[in-house]
């Protein structure tokens, strides 16, 4: 306990904790959008976008987060433009963009002599590496996401439910679809820095999958996902500090345990 109290006097630990609280509350809201809209393949493209951003950041010595956010927004826009063609579709266009991203990453890595080891560190991420500008970015993004879900709950529920019904009620479905993929792009970019590419699902998707088994409605799903995310991220963070383990690993294992416990409880019912 004393060790934890001491650690909480250190700036990187406090920044990490604030980051985990903010992301624990807000990222699962984006997770609901990802799961509901079937954006899992797009998430892979975005994760590769972050790797390309990492190489660019190391090669050009510029900050990682703005580069990855910008890159992912560009990738999403190209993907949506290509995906509008019904014969291509979002899944195919995101796969094409993912391959293209990795190709460019490989060429840039070779051209700028970026060590593969440094790039691979992005795959693990660390909340202790958050800077004050990262935290401000995360805070703004979290507030924007919470505001979007709260103020646009009804249009969002209509877009989730049925596009024709949403259109018949005057909802701008294209705008909301675009907002949702943009949000996903932003969240994946930030989550990569916090928990890394390999464990991003622990913070974004698993709280939703766990919560959806018991949710009593859409509003309830958003609330439960958010609460589950907060409990997971904060408890995972403290357990990692206590046992001196990587936060992302502890968080991922905890998320899977919660998911399995929910699944078993549901099956028993």
């Amino acid at each position: 306990m004393q060790r934890i109290l001491f650690l909480l006097t250190l700036k990187p630990i406090v920044y990490g904790l604030i980051g985990m609280i903010l992301s624990g509350i807000s990222f699962p809201l984006a997770g609901v959008i990802i799961v509901r809209n079937g954006l899992i393949p797009m998430r892979y493209m975005l994760m590769h976008g972050v790797i390309l951003g990492g190489i660019l950041s190391i090669a050009l010595k510029i900050p990682l987060l703005p580069v990855t956010i910008l890159l992912n927004l560009i990738l999403v826009m190209i993907m949506v433009m290509l995906g509008r063609n019904q014969t291509v579709g979002l899944s195919t266009s995101s796969t094409a963009m993912m391959v293209c991203t990795m190709g460019i990453a490989s060429l840039l890595s070779h051209a700028f002599d970026v060590p593969a080891k440094d790039t691979l560190e992005i795959l693990w991420g660390s909340p202790f590496a958050l800077t004050s500008s990262d935290l401000i970015c995360l805070l703004v993004m979290s507030i924007a996401l919470i505001m979007y879900v709260c103020t646009c709950f009804r249009p969002i529920s209509m877009v989730f439910f049925d596009h024709d019904i949403a259109l018949s009620r005057g909802v701008n479905v294209k705008l909301h679809d675009m907002m949702m993929v943009m949000i996903t792009a932003l969240i994946v970019s930030v989550a990569m820095k916090m928990v890394g590419a390999l464990l991003i699902d622990a913070l974004v998707v698993l709280p939703v999958v766990g919560a959806s088994r018991n949710a009593k409605g859409l509003k309830d799903l958003f609330v439960r996902s958010s609460v589950t995310g907060l409990v997971l991220s904060v408890s995972g963070y403290f357990l990692a500090l206590l046992w001196n383990l990587p936060v992302s690993g502890v968080l991922a294992v905890l998320a899977v345990i919660v998911y399995l416990a929910n699944a078993c409880r549901r099956n028993r019912k």
Binding site: S157, F161, D162, S168, S212, K216, G217, L218
Partner: protein
Amino acid sequence: MRDSILEIRSLFAGYGSEPVLKDFSLSLDRGTRVIVCGPNGSGKTTLLKCILGIIKPLSGTIKLLDGCSIAYCKQDFPKQNFPITAREVVEMGLSGRNHDAVQSAMSKTGTLELSERLFWSLSGGERQRVSLARCYCQNADLLLLDEPSSFLDTQSRDDFISMMKNMADPKLSVIAVTHDDQIVSSLGWNVVQLSKGRM
């Protein structure tokens, strides 16, 4: 004096350059109820989507009375993987926060007891009633019903027919599209027959 809520003139519409609906015209007065019937692929749903503005006509005009609001009741929805309650579906019809309207619409359609149940766990007939409650909640001037009996068993279809016959609002105009002869004969509304996209 006639109080026309919808005027469709020489409408051609479809999903590509080839029209599904050809030279369709219809004038609908306030409070009038019409059934558009025809076999699958005759352009019935295309007509409703044109009225809603979801599909742009290839040619022709659709004029709605200024400020006219439309409620759309789909035939059914593919089962999905997210939880949403019947009440949340009905609330989609609300413009503001008038929760009395939700209560009243659910009471009219006999869906109050389904309120907290997940929409996807309901039977076809229950979903149909919840969708109707959503439309009632909208307090619209024009109600569009797309194949309302498609997924209903005999009992649910009879319930639906009696609910339609007992619709109290005399100002509500309705266009129902169906290929169900029993609905056509039971409701006794004006009938427009469609065949290969033509009236």
